[in-house]
Symmetry: C2
Subunit: 433 residues, 2 copies
C-alpha cells in the first residue's frame, strides 16, 4: 500500500509510489494520456495517466470525471521541471470518491464580485483565494511569533462591552439578557489593565464597526492584533511597530514564495520594504506636503484615502504620520510633552498607496489630565472609574497600537479589495453565506 | 547605566547590576534592611536594600512606599536559594514612578467573588490570576503549535451569521443594519467549507451562547479552537484529539512549572495524563455504567455534570463517550455505519471531574442523507443550500471537533470556576468592567 501523504510533502517522496486524496481542479485528455490536476488543500500537482498503465475500468471512469470531483490517486513522484511545483505523479490508480455534477458554478470565465461572494464557500477553492488566505494565516502567525519572542503574552479582551472607548456611533448593539451590550471596536482599555499585570500583552481577535461606508478598506468585522506595553515611550513604540512589520514581511517572504507568485505580487517591493527605514512625518509636515501635492486637506482634518495615497505612492518604505492635533483624537491619548495641542499618536501607512495598517498612541498616564480629558469629551467618569484606577494604582508610561490583519494581508498580497482577505467577509450589504 | 531587563531574564545577569521597572506587590522593613517585593509582569523578585547602601533621600522615600506603587529599581543579581525564583537583588537605587494611595482595594483578606470581579482590572495583578492567565496563553499557543506542525492553517470564521447551526435558542441577536444577525455559537459549518479548500484548517475565536444557566462551567463568551479535517474518519479524529490534548499538557508542563506551583496544581496528575491512553465508552455503555453507579440517567439523555463526574472521578486518563443516539444530536453528524440510530460523535471528558473539554463528530457527507436530516430537524433547505453544495461538489469524509480554551485551562490550572480563566469574563449577570 503506498504511503498516504500531502502535495506539500511530495518532494520527500521522489521515486516512491504515494497516495494523495483531493479534488480535481482541472483535467485534459490527449488520446492515450490523461492529465488530472489535483489539489488537496496543501498544494497542487498534476497526475499523468497512460491508458496502458491503468486498469480499464479506472481508465473509463477517468473519461467522465468532472471538475471538483473528489478522488484518491496513487502514483510515483518524479521531478518535472516544467511543473510549477517542480514535481508530477506517474499515476498508477485513481478512485473517484464523489463525482461532482457538471454544473460547478465557478468557471474559467470572469464572474462579478457579488456572484463570487454569494459562492464564497466554493470560491475559496480557487487558487488565488487559497493563496490570499494562506498569506492571512502567515500574517497572524508571524505577528504572534514576533510578539511572543519579545516576551509578550496573548490574552483575550471581551467582545461584549458595556460602553465604548471611542463613542457609541458605529457600534453594534446587542440585547444582553436585560441589558444592552455593544460589540467591541477595540479592546484597548482592557489591554491597558492587563498591561499593568503582565507588562507586555496583546490580543488577537475580531473587532466590530457598524460603519455605513462602503469602501474597499472596510469590513464590519475585522481582526486586529493589539499590543500594549508598559514602560515604553512613543518613539520606542514606533520602533517596535517597524520591527514587527519587517519581521512579518520577512516571515511571509520565507514561507510563501508560491502563494506570492500565484498572486503575481512584486516581491522586490516587499524585499525593499525590509531595507528601507520608515519615513516619519510630523502631522503638520504631512499636511504641508499634501497641500503642496494637490490635496485640499486642512490642518485639523483626518487623512483621506487620497491623502494616504499621495504620501506613500512613491515610497517603498512605510510612512508614519505622528503627533496629531488633540481635538481630532480620542480622550486616552497622551498629551505631547512639548506642545499641549498635540498628542503622542501615529498612523503607519503601507507603501505604494495601500493605506493605514497600524494605528497607535502613548496613553495618558496622569490621573488628573485623564479626568480632564474625559470631561472635555463629555464622557461619564463613573463608567471609566475602573480605567482611572489604572492611573491611581501604580500608573506607568505605556503605549499600544493596533495592527489590522486584513489590511496587512491585503498589502502583502498586493490585492485591491480587503474583502478577499477574509474567508467569509462581512460588509454592510453582505452577511451570507 | 545598568541594563534594563525583566524578572524573567534575571538568571542571565547574575553578578551584574540591572534595572527593573515594575510594581511593589509587598514590602517589609526590619530596621536598617528594607525588603521590596517587585512584580514586573514577567515574574516576581525581592529587592533588598540596606540603609547604608542607598542615598538618604531614596531610603526615606522607601519608608513611605505603598502597595501597587510603580518603581524603577537598580540592583545586583545574586542567587538566593531561599527565594522562589532562586534569585534576589541587592538594591542600589529606587525611584518611585507613581506612589499609589493607601486604599488599594484588594488586600490579603478574603474577598467575595463579586467584589473581585468588580475589581477584575486590579485582581488580574494578583499572583494566582497572573498564573491562570499565563496558562491560558500557553494552552492557546500549544494547541496552535500542535495543529500548525500537522500542516493545519488557521482561518477565521465569521462572528456575524444569518442563521445558526444548532437552532436559534441561546443565540445573541444583533441589529445588522436593516437585517437581523446572530453571534456565532460555533464556526463549524464555515470550517467545513474551508476544509474542502485547505484540507486541514482550524479557527481560534470567541463563540457566544446566551445561556440562562449559571454554572461554574459556562460563560456567555468563550473561546474555542475548532479543527476540521478532510479525509479522516471518526476514530482517526479521536486519536488526533488525544494527541493534541497530550501535546498541550506537555507543552504547558515544560513551560509553566512556576505558574502550576503558584496554583498548587498536583502536576503528577498531569504527568499521569500523558501516560494514560484515553478510555473509550460507547454512549450506551456509559449509560449502563452510570446507572450502576448511582445516576438516574436514562438512555437518550444528555450527560449531566454529575454524570461526567462519576465517569471520570477515579480516572487519571481522559474519558471519551462516543456514538450517541441521533435523536439528541444536531443534524450534521454522520450516521453510524453499523447502527443507524446512532451518530459518529464524541465528547472528551477531562480526568477527575473537570468535565467536557472537547466535543466533535464525523460530519454527514452524503447529500441525500443530509437533506433528509435537515428536513427531520425542520430546518429550511434554502438557508443551508451553500452547506449542501459541499456534499454536491466533491464531498469527502471529514471530521471536526471543538476544544474549549477556558475549559482546558480550568482543568490544567486545576481551578474551580471557569470565570478565572478569562481576563474579563462575561456571564449572565456580569458585563463589567
Amino acid at each position: 500500500m503506498p504511503i498516504y501523504t500531502y502535495v506539500s510533502e511530495i518532494e520527500k517522496h521522489v521515486g516512491e509510489e504515494i497516495e494523495l486524496k483531493g479534488w480535481v481542479y482541472n483535467f485534459r485528455s490527449s488520446g492515450k494520456i490523461f492529465f488530472l490536476q489535483l489539489r488537496d488543500g496543501s498544494g497542487r500537482v498534476q497526475v499523468v495517466y497512460s491508458a496502458g498503465n491503468l486498469p480499464v475500468d479506472q481508465w473509463e471512469k477517468l473519461q467522465s470525471i468532472r471538475i471538483e470531483s473528489s478522488v484518491t490517486v496513487h502514483g510515483t513522484v518524479k521531478a518535472e521541471s516544467r511543473a510549477t511545483s517542480g514535481f508530477e505523479l506517474d499515476g498508477t490508480s485513481v478512485e473517484i470518491i464523489n463525482l461532482a455534477p457538471d454544473d460547478y458554478p465557478i468557471g474559467k470565465k470572469e464572474h462579478g464580485p457579488e456572484f463570487l461572494l454569494d459562492n464564497r464557500h466554493l470560491w475559496l477553492r480557487s487558487e488565488s483565494q487559497w493563496a490570499v488566505l494562506r498569506l492571512r494565516h502567515l500574517v497572524k502567525l508571524g505577528l504572534q511569533e514576533f510578539f511572543n519572542s519579545q516576551g509578550f503574552i496573548e490574552l483575550d479582551t471581551p467582545t461584549f462591552t458595556p460602553n465604548s472607548c471611542e463613542g457609541t456611533t458605529d457600534l453594534f448593539e446587542v440585547e444582553y439578557f436585560d441589558k444592552k451590550a455593544y460589540l467591541t471596536q477595540n479592546g484597548q482599555l482592557y489591554l491597558e489593565a492587563m498591561c499593568m499585570a503582565f507588562g507586555r500583552v496583546y490580543d488577537l481577535c475580531p473587532n466590530f464597526r457598524a460603519e455605513k461606508s462602503k469602501t474597499r478598506k472596510h469590513l464590519t468585522e475585522f481582526w486586529s492584533l493589539n499590543p500594549e506595553i508598559a514602560f515604553i515611550n512613543h518613539e520606542e513604540s514606533l520602533a517596535l511597530q517597524e520591527k514587527a512589520l519587517k519581521f512579518v514581511v520577512e516571515f511571509v517572504l520565507q514561507r510563501a514564495a508560491s502563494e506570492l507568485k500565484i498572486l503575481e505580487r512584486d516581491v522586490t517591493e516587499l524585499q525593499a520594504f525590509l531595507q528601507e527605514p520608515f519615513k516619519h512625518y510630523e502631522y503638520k509636515d504631512a499636511i504641508n506636503y499634501l497641500q503642496t501635492h494637490g490635496s485640499l486637506i486642512k490642518y485639523g482634518d483626518d487623512l483621506g484615502a487620497e491623502d494616504e495615497e499621495i504620501l506613500t505612492r512613491d515610497s517603498r518604505a512605510a510612512v508614519i504620520v505622528k503627533n496629531w492635533p488633540k481635538t481630532i483624537k480620542p480622550f486616552y491619548m497622551k498629551t505631547h510633552s512639548e506642545d499641549s495641542s498635540l498628542v503622542f499618536n501615529a498612523d503607519v501607512l503601507a507603501p505604494r498607496g495601500f493605506g493605514e495598517i497600524v494605528g497607535g498612541s502613548q496613553r495618558e498616564d496622569d490621573y488628573e489630565t485623564l479626568v480632564k480629558s474625559l470631561r472635555e469629551h463629555n464622557l461619564p467618569l463613573d463608567i471609566f472609574a475602573w480605567y482611572l484606577d489604572l492611573r491611581k494604582y501604580g500608573s506607568v508610561p505605556h503605549c499600544g497600537f493596533g495592527i489590522g490583519i486584513e489590511r496587512v494581508t491585503r498589502w502583502i498580497a498586493g490585492i485591491h479589495h480587503v474583502r478577499e482577505t477574509a474567508a467569509f467577509p462581512r460588509m454592510i450589504n453582505r452577511l451570507t453565506p
